[in-house]
């Protein structure tokens, strides 16, 4: 490529910066350390981080923590008999069981894997689509911008949950449909964020300089524009990981997701709706059925929100050095 020997090329800039690293720290590294220090000073961030790490741990070690009785389909919750009435926490099932004796602890652990599967997959797909379309719209502008942004307007005009319900019905009930639907509906946010970020840097001098020295559009996008714009979209992604799982859980709760017995948190909450009132002598007898699965969802979402919130405060230039 001819641009490698051009004087204003990125590689020479990188070189001079790494030379400077000998005496003082690389500015990028310095900023990064500053950010980390700021992040870890906030107790809420630490809480968020601990929550997320806890769930990562559960997801990774699920086969050890709750060995599946049917290894070929670990997401099916084991159950001891078919007794409808939930059993309270005991030595056998430490968190109690759902109706039909599905073990809650098992569901919580494998449900974690399920939640990560949904969240990561959907957010990654949204990010990919959002970055491509947002770059097209923001960098090239013109007719591409017009078309892409009008489509996002239309998507924004329909309430997410309701549209998701309609789509899931069209695709046929099930977890897979929920994932596909959330991918279809989730990208506009990322597209908008990326586009507005690109609009800020697009007309800066260094972009023009790079263009004048013969860099291709793709190179400019990948090397100069996206690295500058990607942060805000990563923050959105980290917050959306929680809300994506929340929406998926809401759809499952409405009965549009996995079947009964599948280790899916939303589905677990939906099975407990008939058990909010206990027998006359102990009205709160089935508290564990209602409380635990929903609490796990809330904790998961809270973790991502705390983390996203903290990252935003630290990386937002307006709030950063205050």
């Amino acid at each position: 490529m001819h641009s490698t020997d051009s004087p204003v090329d990125g590689s020479t800039i990188g070189q001079s910066a790494s030379e400077a690293q000998g005496e003082t720290k690389h500015p990028g590294l310095r900023e990064f350390l500053f950010s980390m220090k700021r992040l870890l000073k906030n107790p809420l961030t630490i809480i968020g981080l601990v929550i997320i790490l806890f769930f990562v741990f559960l997801a990774i070690f699920a086969p050890v923590l709750a060995p599946p009785p049917q290894p070929h389909d670990p997401y099916l919750m084991p159950h001891d008999g078919w007794k409808i009435q939930p059993s309270p926490p005991s030595a056998e099932s430490p968190l109690g069981t759902l109706p039909s004796q599905y073990d809650i602890l098992y569901g919580v652990i494998w449900g974690t894997r399920n939640a990560f599967r949904i969240g990561l997959f959907v957010v990654a797909a949204n990010l990919a689509v959002g970055i491509i379309l947002g770059s097209l719209a923001g960098y090239f502008g013109g007719i591409a911008d017009e078309i892409i942004m009008r489509i996002t307007d239309i998507f924004y005009a329909i309430p997410m949950l309701v549209m998701a319900m309609a789509l899931v019905v069209a695709f046929g009930r099930g977890l897979q449909s929920i994932i596909i639907v959330l991918i279809i509906l989730g990208w506009p946010t990322y597209t908008r964020v990326i586009r507005s970020e690109i609009l800020i840097v697009r007309d800066m001098d260094y972009i023009h300089a790079s263009r004048a020295s013969g860099s291709s559009h793709l190179r400019i996008l990948a090397k100069h524009i996206l690295p500058n714009s990607i942060f805000s979209v990563i923050i959105v992604a980290s917050m959306n990981l929680g809300t994506t799982v929340l929406t998926a859980a809401a759809l499952s709760f409405l009965g549009l997701g996995a079947d009964t017995g599948y280790a899916d948190w939303g589905q677990m909450v939906s099975t407990c709706r008939n058990w909010i009132v206990g027998p006359a002598d102990n009205r709160l007898a089935y508290w564990y059925v209602v409380f635990i699965p929903g609490f796990v969802i809330a904790l998961f979402v809270l973790g991502w929100n705390l983390l996203g919130d903290a990252i935003r405060d630290v990386f937002d230039p307006k709030l950063r050095r205050r």
Partner: protein
Amino acid sequence: MSMLNYIIRRLLFMILVLVGVSLLVFSVMMMIPPGMRVAAYVTHEKVTSEDIESMIEVYGLRDPAPVQYFRWLKRIFTGDFGFSVTAEAPVLEGFKSYFPTTLELVLYATPLVILVGVWFGTKGAIHKDKPIDHGIRIFAIVGYSLPTFWLGLLLLMFFYGYLGIFPPGTLSNAGKDVIFSDAWHRITGLLTVDAILNWRWDIFWDALYHLILPTINLVLLSSALIMRLMRSSMLEALGQDYVRTALAKGADRRTVHLKHARRNGLLPVITISGIMFAGLMAGMVITETIFTRKGIGWWMARAALQLDVSAIMFNVLFLGTIFVGVNLIVDLIYAAIDPRIRLS
């Protein structure tokens, strides 16, 4: 004059978006096989498979998509949205019977949500980094994270299950007897309003009593968003020079905070309040399902489970229109109070 210009531009844009929304809804509908879509035309129970086949022919459900789209649009403009299996009535009639229940809850909840959010958000910003601010921030982020359905179930479990108060539903059995009797005149469909118009205060209190728990649920969750927004926009306003100037020349601190800063801090909240109203309406799918309130959310949830396509599509279209309409109104209000918007 520029205001008129702005309104026209916004209206044209709204029409464009609505056409897009209708296309989107239509494409979703087209993914459903004709054999299921035909249910929108079935108005009686006994239908044979030959009937279905001939109905698919008659209504042209296998025609090319554009043809079907324009036929569908034409039907919509005549107010014919098909037959809803779950409502056991034409869609519009179902809507008329379900919608007031939803509207009533939204009308009670929205002002409360906004008031609570603005009040606490302002407090948090004024007392930044004090214990009360931390408390408000934690409340806001927790409220933002809680699943609606979970909090609703917990509230029901505690208040209804344990304490025996605030039951689900919209009325007690005695109240239902009254509103289904001949003495009751259904005027607006909003129970509390109709109760006053019928001069039945017992029904009024009864309906209000059933509104309390879902309203609490919505306020706890939805005010979190407004609180966060209000806090940050208020912080920004407090950092402005005019606030410093006002304080420096000795103006009363309370007046500066509440009159000068809050008025400016409220601007973004106006935007979000409109979305909040529309969002609450969409969120009714969950709230009404939990509290067994038979509104359009409850209807929609049942329709989704029973594959009642015409009801689902109508509700998506309806809520989309509400969203677009509310956004338009918000933009216009915004332009009216902030001249920078309409001039740019």
